[in-house]
Every structure is written in structure tokens, then in C-alpha cells.
């Protein structure tokens, strides 16, 4: 038995030696001459393909080898590749912190190349800089941004004879009236737990950050907590909406997919979601028109803020085999041309002004809010670890099924927040 273990170990070592040998070979292949290959891993299924095609067309002789996968799978894959030195040259990186593929998480151990000297880095608006940078250096080429608000099915709304609410008081009576007519105001599909956060973010943007723009800084400095701040009001308003009949019955048994069907077919008047939902709703109802507005959280529309945040961008591997080509690709993504292609395909807004992107007419209000700087990043992007958000997501499900109170959830979030990175 002892002998066979020794042999097994020898076999393992031999295999490892072989595989590192192969790596070295393929590395030297890439370096040579005009035939240039860029490796890329992405989660932007459905849009990255077009960008690559355009990039290859603009750079003759360049070939992009790429893989795409879902976020969960991608995050597991990229971490393994980075730690074993087999990661691609360019890869999807999420803004800020709080998920396993985020900027802070990957740049802290030195896996990402510093992009601070790129011309676009200085032009990023401040709210995106904070999540594209780690310790003052830019690591993430953020090209698109998304917002959260109330999206209405225009046809269903006019059929109901109701008007989209513009204040908190109007919102509650709108919900009661809509429920009274048998068509609830908003579809809510919180069987998929990430959906639980959207309404809360839409409320917290105005309620928490409208009162105190520096809430995150104070939270990080330990001067305030979730449970001891306006977050309790945001939570209370979420529950008020539920009590007023704003959502269809049984939200916990309704999936994200099912909630889209409800809103697209007019069985609810709308849905509280990110702007990406408009494309999905149109997929289910090609003749439908959908308009996004800020979710009223107070009675003074001048105080409204919308959650708007950069979507996943691209980072460059610090050990990229072809750094020059990787930077060329990043430059293309951040050029008006690349940005237009990406964002129109994804239904998002460009992060740089004057990118010439055509935006869906239903997103006019979000565009205005972005231009007037009346937005707040998605709250989780500046939390120190992924557990805070996961605690909130399952906690909100527990609130909806009476297994926990809103205060319990906020206190648990404080506990996880204080554990730090």
C-alpha cells in the first residue's frame, strides 16, 4: 500500500510537470509575429460576440479566443484560473466589492493590471470611479450602467384608467386602486432571491441616501449602522407597499421569469426592476410599450434618487500573455464605437458621456437622473464582503414569509458588515 501511494504521488508530480510545460510552450507561440491571439472570458452572452466581431474586423490579423458562461460558473472558473496562472488576457470583472469576481477582490491579491493611465480612466464620472478603482488605481473598464425603478406596461396602465404615482402617498393609493380592480400594481418574483433587493434599493436610494449622501462613508467608519439608520424606514416602506397590495399574491412562489410574464401581459400594471427588464418584457410582448420612472419613496419628487450602477466591466490579467493586445481591446470597449455596440445590445446606458448610444425611449427618466447626478450606486457594491448582501437576500425572503422581522435582518447585516473583508 505504501508503495502504491509513492507511485501515485510520482504520477501526480509528473502530470503537473507536463501541464506546466505545455503552458510555457503556448506562451511563446503567442508572442510571435503578426498572427496575434487574444484570450477572453466573459459573462456578456449575446453582446460580447458582436463586439469581438467588430474588434477583429477593425484589427486585421487579430484573433480572439473567447469563452462565455453564467455568472456563478464564471466566478468559480476565473478564480481557479487566476490562482493557477491559466487565466485569459481579458476577463469580466464586477464593479466594487461584495462578490467573488469583483474589482476589490481580484485586484487586492494583484491579479489585475493597473489601467489608471488609460485615457478613459480619468473621464469616468465619480460614482463609477469609486467602484472601478481599488486603493486609488483603476482596474475595471466599466462600459455600461443600469438603473432600478418602476417599469410600467403602458397599455395596461391606460386600460386601468390610473396614472403612474409621483409621490409616496399617491403610490399607496395607486396600489389599493389597482388591487381593487383585480390588476395588482407591480409583479414581484422573489422566489429567485436576488430579486428581493430591487424594491428595497429603489426605496433606500431616496430614503437613506437622499437624507445623507455620505451614508456609506459613515457606515464604513462605524459611525452608523443598518439597524440604527434610515434603512429601517426603507424596510418599513417595503412592508407598507406589501400591505397596501402593491404586489400580486404569493410573491415567494413567483419566479423572476413568471413575474416578467405577469408584467408583460398586463396581469399587473408594471414591475419594479432594472432597466434590463424592458428588453425581456418586449421579448414576451413584442407590441408592448414599457416606461421606467423613479419609484416614489417620499412626497417630494425633488428628493428622488434612483439606484444606478455600473454593470460588469472588463479587467486585464496582470500576467496577460499579450498585454498590448489586451489593452487594445479595452480601449476599443471604452471607445464610443465599442460602447455603443455593447450598450445597445444590452439595453444599458453608457458610462462615459457623449458615447452616441441610442437609448430606449422608455428609459428617458433614468437618463435624465444620470445626467443630473441624481443616482446612487447599488448599495452592495461598497459593502465589505459578499455575506452582507446574501444575508439581506435570504432575510427579505424570511420577512415575506414571517420567519423574521425587518429589524432582525438589518441587525444580521450589521453583524456581517462588521466582520469586514
Amino acid at each position: 500500500m505504501k508503495k502504491s501511494i509513492t507511485i501515485a504521488l510520482a504520477a501526480v508530480m509528473l502530470t503537473t510537470a507536463c501541464s506546466s510545460g505545455t503552458n510555457a510552450n503556448s506562451g511563446s507561440d503567442d508572442g510571435g509575429g503578426g498572427n496575434q491571439t487574444l484570450t477572453l472570458a466573459s459573462v456578456d452572452q449575446g453582446s460580447i460576440e458582436d463586439v469581438i466581431k467588430a474588434f477583429e474586423a477593425a484589427n486585421p490579423g487579430v484573433k480572439v479566443n473567447f469563452t462565455t458562461s453564467g455568472a456563478d460558473q464564471y466566478q468559480a472558473q476565473i478564480r481557479t484560473q487566476l490562482s493557477s496562472g491559466t487565466a485569459p488576457d481579458v476577463m469580466t470583472v464586477w464593479p466594487g466589492n461584495g462578490n467573488p469576481g469583483a474589482t476589490y477582490v481580484l485586484s487586492k491579491p494583484g491579479y489585475l493590471l493597473d489601467l489608471s493611465d488609460q485615457p478613459w480612466a480619468a473621464k469616468l464620472p465619480d460614482s463609477f470611479k469609486s467602484v472601478a478603482q481599488y486603493e486609488g488605481k483603476t482596474y475595471n473598464a466599466l462600459f455600461g450602467l443600469n438603473g432600478i425603478g418602476a417599469v410600467y406596461n403602458d397599455e395596461a396602465l391606460s386600460k386601468s384608467g390610473l396614472n403612474a404615482p409621483t409621490t409616496w402617498t399617491e403610490l399607496l393609493s395607486f396600489c389599493r386602486d389597482a388591487a381593487g380592480k383585480g390588476t395588482p400594481a407591480y409583479a414581484l418574483g422573489i422566489q429567485d432571491n436576488w430579486v428581493t433587493q430591487l424594491v428595497l434599493y429603489a426605496l433606500a436610494a431616496t430614503v437613506v441616501f437622499g437624507q445623507d449622501k455620505d451614508f456609506n462613508t459613515k457606515l464604513a467608519a462605524g459611525q452608523t449602522t443598518f439597524a440604527g439608520s434610515a434603512w429601517t424606514q426603507a424596510m418599513a416602506k417595503y412592508q407598507d407597499m406589501s400591505k397596501a397590495g402593491c404586489f400580486q399574491k404569493n410573491p415567494l412562489g413567483t419566479s423572476y421569469e413568471a413575474s416578467q410574464t405577469l408584467a408583460a401581459t398586463g396581469r399587473t400594471l408594471g414591475i419594479i426592476q432594472g432597466n434590463w427588464i424592458i428588453g425581456l418584457l418586449k421579448g414576451k410582448n413584442p407590441n408592448g410599450k414599457f416606461t421606467m420612472t423613479a419609484l416614489p419613496a417620499t412626497d417630494d419628487p425633488a428628493t428622488f434618487l434612483m439606484p444606478a450602477a455600473a454593470g460588469a466591466g472588463y479587467g486585464v490579467n496582470a500576467k496577460a500573455k499579450n498585454k498590448e493586445l489586451a489593452l487594445k481591446f479595452i480601449t476599443y470597449v471604452m471607445s464610443p464605437e465599442g460602447m455603443k455596440l455593447f450598450n445597445e445590445k444590452q439595453g444599458s446606458l453608457p458610462t462615459l458621456p457623449d458615447a452616441g448610444t441610442t437609448v430606449d425611449p422608455g428609459l428617458k427618466q433614468l437618463t435624465t437622473f444620470v445626467q443630473e447626478n441624481k443616482t446612487v450606486p447599488f448599495m452592495d457594491q461598497l459593502w465589505p464582503n459578499a455575506k452582507v448582501q446574501q444575508t439581506m437576500l435570504s432575510g427579505l425572503q424570511e420577512v415575506f414569509s414571517n420567519q423574521a422581522t425587518a429589524d432582525d435582518v438589518l441587525k444580521d447585516m450589521d453583524t456581517e458588515y462588521k466582520k469586514g473583508e
Binding site: 502504491s4 501526480v12 478564480r79 477582490v105 399574491k249 435570504s394 415575506f400 423574521a404
Partner: protein, 311 residues
């Protein structure tokens, strides 16, 4: 072939071509090496290395990690989610084992009888077991939705008041997971029981019938002891399957609402791949391995004893 062999005179034959002689030679021990090496490379070595990480704070990425002794294991005792998940896992495993085998045995007894459609029924009842569990779970997720087929059916037959948010209600969701697994695998247990039933010779039933035994007595005194091997296999398979249940839970409820249906396996997945707490997640996996080993070893010893006593 075997009849042919029996005719040969016993005793050693000199011919090396004789099949009997060849079968007596034990193969050299090192014949097992290639398979053992492969097994060691893909299973033993990674598992052993994996256990090492259970004693670290590795995040799956950073090459700088520290040995933290037993902290991951002691943390588990303070982690309400983990303790809840262990409880859910045990409830699910016991419920699936009892219900799936109960139904499987009844089905086997049914299709072992002389009813005309028995072949058709055997195929029909086994059919769900050939579908991928994840597909079954997504199917049921739609059927059990608030506007799904189950609620519509209840409404149609005048049982509207029985309609529920089957997967959204934390008191029901765990039982829906059990329902889906039992629906899929009761037919699987049935097939194993059926094989056992068919190996019981007709003559024993006939003799018992002549002695004037009733159906219950016949089941208890003849079928149960002779079916013991099939019972052992079925109980082992369903309890191990129940303890490590992942696909169905993940696709049906994702462990929710809240943590109401989280099992050890879904927690392992979430801690590793959503939270990046690889050390803690591997520690949970080690605990799961220990639980599975203890339960199956214990079960094997008890059932094996019963089997021997029965035969």
C-alpha cells in the same frame, strides 16, 4: 457450459489450456495498480488535499492563507444556518427513505401480481427515474407555482380552499422537495423490490397457500425475509441520496424561502461559490462525509445482521 464442466472428472489436469486450471491462478497484485493509480489521482489525493483546506481560511483565490486549526468546525456550532441545514438534511433523508420505500414496495407488490397491464405499468412507474433530477425539479417548480397546474387542478375540482403557495410557504417547501424526490424515485425503488420479489419461488407461496395462510402472514413470514437483500440496497441508496440531496433543492427553491429548505449540500455550494468561504465550505463537506459514513455504516451493519437472521 456449466453442465459441460460438471461432467469432467475432478482432479488436476495437466493441460494449461484447461479453463478450470486457469481460473485458480490468483492474478498478481500489481494488476490493480493502473486502476488504483487513476483512482488515487482523481479521488484519493484531491480528497486528502481537500480535507487539509478545511483547517484553513482559504478564500479560493488568495495564495496567502493561514492554518486556523479547528475554527471552521467550531464556527459551525454558532452558525444557525448550518445547524438548520443539518436538521433539514436529516428530515429530508428520513422522510424520503420511509415514504419512497413504502410506496416503492406497494407498487412492486402491485405490479408483481397477475394484472393484465403490469408490463405497461412497470414502464410507466419507472419512467420518471430516467429523467435528469434538475429537469424534474424545474418541471415541478412550474407545476407548484401560485398559478401552476396543481393549484388550477384543485380549483377545478372544487378544492379551491386547498390552494397554497407550495414553494413559497416555509412550512410546506421542505415537504415539496420530499414529494418531488419521491415522485421521481419511488419507481426506482419499485424495480429493485420487484427483482427481489421475482426471485422468490412460486412453490413457497403455493405451500403457504395450502397451509391456509392469509395475505398479511404470507407477506410477513415469506416475502419480508426473502426480500431482505433488496430492502438493504433500497434503504442504503435512498438514505445516502437523501443526505447528499442538492439538485432538486437548488432548482426547486434555491434553499429558500430564506433558509427554509437549505441542506448541507446547498450550503456547501453557497458558501464556496457565492461567498468565497472555501475553507468553511470544505469543513462542512467534511462533516457531510462523516455523517454519510456513519449513517451508512451503521445501517449496513444493522440490515446485514437482519438479513443473516432472516436467511
Amino acid at each position: 457450459m456449466s453442465a459441460d464442466l460438471q461432467v469432467r472428472p475432478p482432479g488436476r489436469t495437466v493441460s494449461p489450456a484447461s479453463p478450470r486450471r486457469r481460473s485458480r491462478v490468483a492474478p498478481p497484485w500489481w494488476f490493480v495498480l493502473p486502476a488504483l493509480l487513476l483512482f488515487a489521482f482523481v479521488v484519493l489525493v484531491p480528497s486528502a488535499r481537500g480535507i487539509y483546506y478545511a483547517f484553513t481560511d482559504w478564500d479560493g483565490l488568495d495564495p496567502d492563507f493561514a492554518l486556523i486549526g479547528l475554527r471552521n468546525f467550531t464556527d459551525m456550532l454558532d452558525d444557525g444556518d448550518a445547524l438548520q441545514a443539518v436538521w433539514h438534511t436529516l428530515v429530508i433523508a428520513v422522510a424520503i427513505t420511509v415514504i419512497q420505500n413504502g410506496i416503492g414496495l406497494l407498487l412492486a407488490l402491485g405490479v408483481n401480481s397477475m394484472i393484465k397491464t403490469r408490463n405497461f405499468l412497470r414502464v410507466l412507474l419507472f419512467a420518471p427515474a430516467v429523467i435528469t433530477p434538475i429537469v424534474t425539479a424545474y418541471l415541478w417548480r412550474n407545476l407548484l407555482g401560485p398559478d401552476g397546474a396543481v393549484n388550477s387542478l384543485l380549483g377545478m375540482v372544487g378544492l379551491g380552499s386547498w390552494r397554497q403557495d407550495w414553494l413559497g410557504d416555509p412550512d410546506l417547501a421542505l415537504w415539496m422537495v420530499v414529494l418531488v424526490v419521491v415522485w421521481q424515485f419511488a419507481g426506482y425503488s419499485m424495480v429493485i423490490f420487484l427483482a427481489g420479489l421475482q426471485s422468490i419461488p412460486r412453490e413457497i407461496y403455493e405451500a403457504a397457500a395450502i397451509d391456509g395462510t392469509g395475505a398479511v402472514r404470507r407477506f410477513w413470514s415469506i416475502v419480508r425475509p426473502l426480500l431482505a437483500p433488496a430492502i438493504t440496497i433500497n434503504l442504503m441508496l435512498s438514505i445516502i441520496g437523501g443526505i447528499k440531496l442538492f439538485d432538486q433543492v437548488y432548482a426547486l427553491t434555491g434553499g429558500g424561502p430564506g433558509h427554509a429548505t437549505d441542506t448541507i449540500s446547498t450550503l456547501i455550494y453557497k458558501d464556496a461559490f457565492t461567498l468565497g468561504e472555501f475553507g468553511y465550505s470544505i469543513a462542512l463537506a467534511v462533516v457531510l462525509t462523516v455523517i454519510v459514513s456513519i449513517v451508512s455504516a451503521g445501517q449496513f451493519v444493522v440490515l446485514n445482521r437482519n438479513e443473516k437472521a432472516a436467511s
